[in-house]
């Protein structure tokens, strides 16, 4: 079954040979049967949004099956807006992630406004880290306010995944990404509440080896049709991965 991993990080991991370059990620994923993935730059998230996103573009351009998620850092708004203007129209960037210094702390809507307004014209899905209920609630507020955007909640609330599911139930422009808690109960509950068409497979690699994340899909007792949607079809459709236009 084809697999798209929508949540992979470039750089920022202490163990060598995993994600320091696009080629390493491509090889690492390929061995695990993952043909395509969406990558965000840890350099952009932790140090410099402008250079981090440009380096990422350079790397994904050279590797088939790799796509970029532009990181917009809310503490570095000017650099992030510049990166959006420079890069978000590229077909190699299929998404934008809003982040702050601490992923566990909810985003400030007033600061996010400026970045989300700048993203409007590109119409690319917006990723938000949602490792807990507070981040889910902040994300829900943004999703309701900016209902022209599709939002992807990375980690779907972590161990508070019930809150993530409830948010997605409230707002149809919220999609849930499967990294976070490896709880076998969460995917059946999410499918029951919102259907399998708004759930995307992501590992958060290198936080988790993608095979561990795939193990959750395998052991969750969901149907083959639902697995195919979550592992491939939903992401391919959302990011237009099978299209070929600029």
């Amino acid at each position: 079954m084809p697999v798209v991993d929508v949540h992979v990080h470039l750089e920022g991991y202490g163990i060598p040979g995993v994600n320091q370059t696009g080629a390493q990620i491509r090889e690492f994923m390929s061995v695990r049967g993952i043909e395509r993935c969406v990558i965000m730059s840890s350099r952009a998230a932790q140090a410099d949004p402008l250079s981090g996103n440009h380096i990422l573009k350079h790397m994904v351009e050279q590797q088939e099956g790799l796509y970029g998620c532009l990181v917009a850092h809310l503490n570095r708004v000017d650099a992030s807006l510049q990166a959006i203007r420079d890069l978000l129209s590229s077909r190699y960037f299929v998404s934008v992630a809003l982040i702050s210094s601490n992923p566990s702390v909810p985003l400030q809507p007033l600061v996010a406004d400026e970045v989300l307004n700048a993203c409007r014209r590109y119409q690319k899905p917006v990723m938000l880290h949602t490792p807990n209920a507070a981040c889910v609630e902040a994300g829900l507020h943004l999703a309701k306010t900016y209902n022209m955007h599709k939002f992807i909640f990375l980690g779907m609330g972590g161990s508070d995944w019930r809150t993530g599911i409830a948010a997605a139930h409230q707002s149809v422009n919220i999609h849930l990404e499967t990294s976070g808690a490896l709880d076998r109960a969460k995917l059946p509950a999410a499918i029951e509440a919102i259907g399998s068409h708004r759930i995307l497979f992501g590992s958060g690699m290198p936080t988790l080896d993608p095979v561990a994340s795939l193990g959750l899909i395998e052991d969750s007792g969901i149907s083959v049709v639902e697995q195919r949607r979550i592992l491939n079809d939903n992401a391919a459709k959302m990011f237009n991965l099978d299209g070929d236009q600029e």
């Binding site: 061995v31 490896l182 709880d183 076998r184 080896d209 561990a212 193990g215 052991d219």
Partner: protein, 241 residues
């Protein structure tokens, strides 16, 4: 697939998960992944009362030979009664588990030290959940006898360096693998301390067995090391036939 022994499973009610963890669900997962034996305990022993939980564990395991009973004690309720502890080995318990975070007590805790010194005459291994940086260092001060077999459960990428440092000091300490799911961590641990000191565990049925299993299989270890981690080490340390 080689012999697989999962040393970290449980059954019973678990509010942190959305559903009760049924013994049937555990057995179904074991069957799916050809897990030959699972060390398990009732969550009642963690959440409510260790005597009640240990009795439930024994009852469940007496009906299912592939389930191996694990005892637990809550140090916050231990006031010196050693009679139950002294019976653990005779009652068939394979080791004793501790759950500091779930029961809200620190590793550096006098009643825990007391329990540890009290269970040492049973010669049963002890397995302690590790949930934050510093706990393993605290544990190096808590365990009194160097011959005591200790298993550090839920060690993850954040606590791996601390675990390796502790294992360098204590040759009878081991690491359970359920949280070593980040790329390269298992290989790093195996290279640093030897694959003979890693024990396969999953947290099933709340957590998937496939995640842990695939991570071991893709860790870049040789066949012998994989075989040791998945089953042989547990059989040796826990004296399983």
């Amino acid at each position: 697939m080689d012999d697989i022994v999962d040393i970290n499973t449980m059954f019973g009610p678990l509010p942190a998960s959305s559903a009760d963890l049924a013994v049937d669900a555990l057995q179904e997962l074991m069957q799916t992944h050809n897990v030959t034996a699972a060390c398990t305990l009732s969550t009642l022993g963690i959440l409510l009362d260790s005597n009640l939980g240990n009795a439930a564990t024994r009852a469940a395991c007496s009906e299912q030979p592939q389930l191996l009973p694990v005892a637990t004690i809550n140090p916050t309720m231990f006031v010196g009664d050693k009679s139950a502890l002294s019976r653990f080995a005779a009652e068939g318990f394979r080791f004793i588990r501790f759950f500091p975070r779930e029961q809200h007590w620190p590793i550096d805790f006098a009643p825990f030290h007391w329990v540890l010194s009290s269970v040492q005459p049973t010669r049963l291994p002890v397995m302690v959940n590790i949930d934050s940086i510093g706990e393993i260092t605290d544990l190096t001060r808590a365990i009194l006898a160097p011959e005591c077999v200790v298993i550090l459960a839920r060690v993850d990428r954040a606590t791996l360096a601390e675990a390796i440092a502790a294992l360098q000091m204590f040759p009878n300490w081991h690491i359970e693998t359920s949280r070593l799911l980040a790329p390269g961590c298992l290989k790093l641990a195996a290279d640093a301390i030897g694959p003979e000191r890693l024990l396969f565990g999953t947290g099933a049925p709340a957590l998937p067995i496939a995640s842990g299993l695939h991570t071991v299989q893709f860790a870049g270890l040789d066949e012998n090391a994989v075989s040791m981690i998945l089953g042989a080490n547990a059989r040796r340390i826990l004296n399983l036939s």
